[in-house]
């Protein structure tokens, strides 16, 4: 058997593919963070908690309303997005004139509340969520068994990521958005309602987190704690990619997923440190991040 650095290529391909799957979650989450940061200059600490809320909404819909996976895929991001808009309107919007750190602190508090409340209500062991019937089973790829659902996750999140990138970088609406980040007063003067646009952006960003939650529900346990450790890795992804860079968030998310996959083959003990090590190195060489620019 041919082997690469002592690892059979089958295993290597398998792990790379799995890394890509994880990477697509990172990409989806860091994309939401990047969109919000680009527009609001707020680091949304509640992103992990809202990802968890997305998964829980899917579970609640299934358990109490009989709405299945495909329904949840539409409804849950909407619910999370509306929740986000409500939070933005009632609280975050009061802080824009202050130092940006207050936004971080506020969302940190919100994350504690959301997680604590769900923990109090539903316990911590989590709730089961089945894989939808249409995506059960899997393909034997020769080097590994690929569950259909995982393949779907990659396709779905890549589509959404690049769709978002296209919408922001290549459409008129995106142009308004980018303009409003540069100079809100001027854009307002052109007759565009900037505060509404800000709210909608925040809603959209957290809806992406909610969507990632629904995608994650059948793979991971729907548990109040599912977002709390993920958020820090996603933060590191955003720092590496360069804050506010849409493409940077997507590419770095996927890249780090792959890197993590490789680490799991060669030195699994370090697989959750590797992201932070990469972050430290990137910061030493290129403080603005791979795709970022100095502000």
């Amino acid at each position: 058997m041919v082997s690469l650095l002592g690892i059979p290529p089958q295993v290597l391909f398998g792990q790379l593919l799995l890394g890509l799957i994880n990477g697509s979650f990172y990409a989806l989450l860091s994309l939401g963070l990047a969109v919000i940061f680009g527009m609001l200059n707020v680091i949304n600490f509640a992103h992990g908690a809202l990802y968890m809320v997305g998964a829980f909404v899917a579970w609640l819909l299934l358990t109490y309303a009989g709405v299945g996976y495909w329904g949840a895929l539409v409804v849950a991001p909407l619910v999370v997005g509306l929740l986000g808009i409500a939070l933005e309107k009632s609280m975050l919007s009061r802080l824009y004139k202050l130092d940006h750190l207050y936004g971080l602190l506020l969302t940190f508090g919100l994350a504690l509340i959301l997680e604590g409340a769900f923990r109090h209500q539903y316990g911590v062991s989590g709730q089961p969520y089945p894989i939808p019937d249409a995506l059960k089973g899997g393909q034997n790829l020769g080097f590994m068994f690929l569950p259909n659902y995982r393949a779907w996750v990659v396709v779905a999140s890549l589509t959404i990521c690049f769709g978002t990138w296209f919408a922001i970088e290549r459409t008129k609406l995106g142009a308004y958005l980018r303009a409003a980040t540069e100079n809100p007063t001027l854009v307002q003067a052109f007759g565009i309602n900037v505060p509404v646009m800000v709210s909608l952006t925040y809603g959209f960003g957290v809806a992406l987190a909610g969507l990632a939650g629904v995608l994650a529900a059948p793979i991971y346990q729907v548990s109040p704690l599912m977002g709390s450790n993920l958020i820090i890795i996603v933060f590191a992804v955003v720092v590496i990619g360069g804050m506010g860079s849409i493409l940077g968030a997507i590419v770095t998310g996927l890249g780090l997923g792959l890197l993590e996959g490789l680490t799991k083959v060669f030195y699994p003990e370090a697989s959750n440190i590797v992201v932070f090590v990469v972050m430290a190195i990137v910061l030493l060489i290129k403080p603005a991040g791979l795709f970022g620019r100095e502000r």
Partner: protein
């Protein structure tokens, strides 16, 4: 980058306010000396440890405008170092504490060199990510004993003279450590060095244009803050005779942010008040059915939205403005 600028304008200005603070400090010290006869000493020692931790944290956020979201890494690692040196290597408590402080300071230097390169939110996220790395290391390194933690750490005899197993002796030792740390922070804040830090906080480009190498000042402040956080962590390990993973989690970093925010960022006494309140609250909530994280989260939100000066900041703002 001036989180606390609005509150510090009023704090500690002019000679009149200076003597006032000294008098308050003296009164508080008297209260602290008498306290263990009224209140439970272990509880008071916990408050003092966290108060020192919060003061160290406040040195960065309040006086240099840097929000570190990873201070638990210093606090917790120092606790492990103190516990390990005292328990396994049989070091005297004073050397254990020195080792703990030194290691925390060294870590502060490494963190600082990486994180100082960015400001504001970036700085917060980088410190958070680095401290998460420390958490995983603490979990995996054999000497920390994973989730069992280092248990049964002997308190020993301080300087070969004071038997720390006596609750009162231990309490006064902790009080002395706290007062020492606090005095150091006070000195720093009022020194020319502290003035430069404030200048950097208010307007970094201007400080640079005046010829200050701001990165160096920030780095020194960061190392000092990390060392003092380490001193607090090491002391806590001796008080509770254990070091555990709790103290390196990012939730602990969040807690110290809350203490400082609640008490008043950029005020000298704010973190002490905040630490006292949060520790009391946690110990009170332990026997109720209220979910602790929700309550803590609500306090956070309320503080950020309507109460940004914190308790002490708010009090100072309402005092008659003498001599102005």
């Amino acid at each position: 980058m001036s989180v606390a600028s609005n509150s510090t304008h009023v704090a500690l200005r002019g000679p009149a306010r200076g003597t006032g603070t000294a008098m308050i400090a003296a009164a508080l010290l008297l209260v602290a000396v008498a306290a263990p006869f009224v209140l439970y000493p272990v509880f008071l020692m916990k408050v003092l440890c966290f108060a020192l931790f919060a003061c160290a944290f406040n040195l960065l956020i309040g006086f240099a405008g840097l929000l570190s979201f990873g201070h638990a890494a210093f606090f917790g690692s120092a606790a492990y170092i103190a516990a390990h040196t005292v328990k396994v290597w049989n070091w005297a408590p004073e050397f254990g504490l020195i080792a703990a402080t030194a290691v925390a300071g060294l870590m502060g230097l490494v963190f600082g060199l990486i994180a100082i390169r960015r400001q504001g939110i970036y700085f917060a996220m980088i410190t958070l990510a680095l401290s998460q790395m420390v958490f995983f290391l603490a979990l995996q390194l054999p000497f920390t004993h994973g989730e069992d933690g280092i248990q049964g750490v002997p308190r020993g005899t301080l300087f070969g003279l004071f038997d720390l197993n006596q609750p009162l002796t231990m309490y006064y030792a902790v009080l002395a450590i706290f007062v020492g740390g606090f005095a150091l922070i006070w000195r720093t804040v009022h020194s020319p060095f502290g003035q430069v830090l404030k200048a950097i906080r208010e307007n970094e480009p201007r400080a640079v244009s005046l010829g200050y190498r701001t990165d160096r000042y920030k780095l020194v402040a960061f190392v000092l803050s990390a060392s003092l956080a380490g001193l607090a962590g090491g002391t806590k390990a001796l008080v509770f005779q254990l070091a555990s993973l709790t103290d390196v989690t990012w939730q602990m970093s969040g807690e110290v942010v809350l203490m400082t925010l609640l008490g008043g960022m950029g005020t000298l006494f704010g973190p002490v008040v905040g630490a006292g309140l949060v520790v009391t609250l946690e110990s009170y909530l332990a026997s109720t059915s209220l979910p602790v994280p929700v309550v803590i989260g609500c306090i956070f939100v309320v503080c950020v939205l309507v109460f940004r000066r914190g308790i002490v900041g708010e009090l100072l703002a309402r005092l008659p403005k003498r001599g102005r």
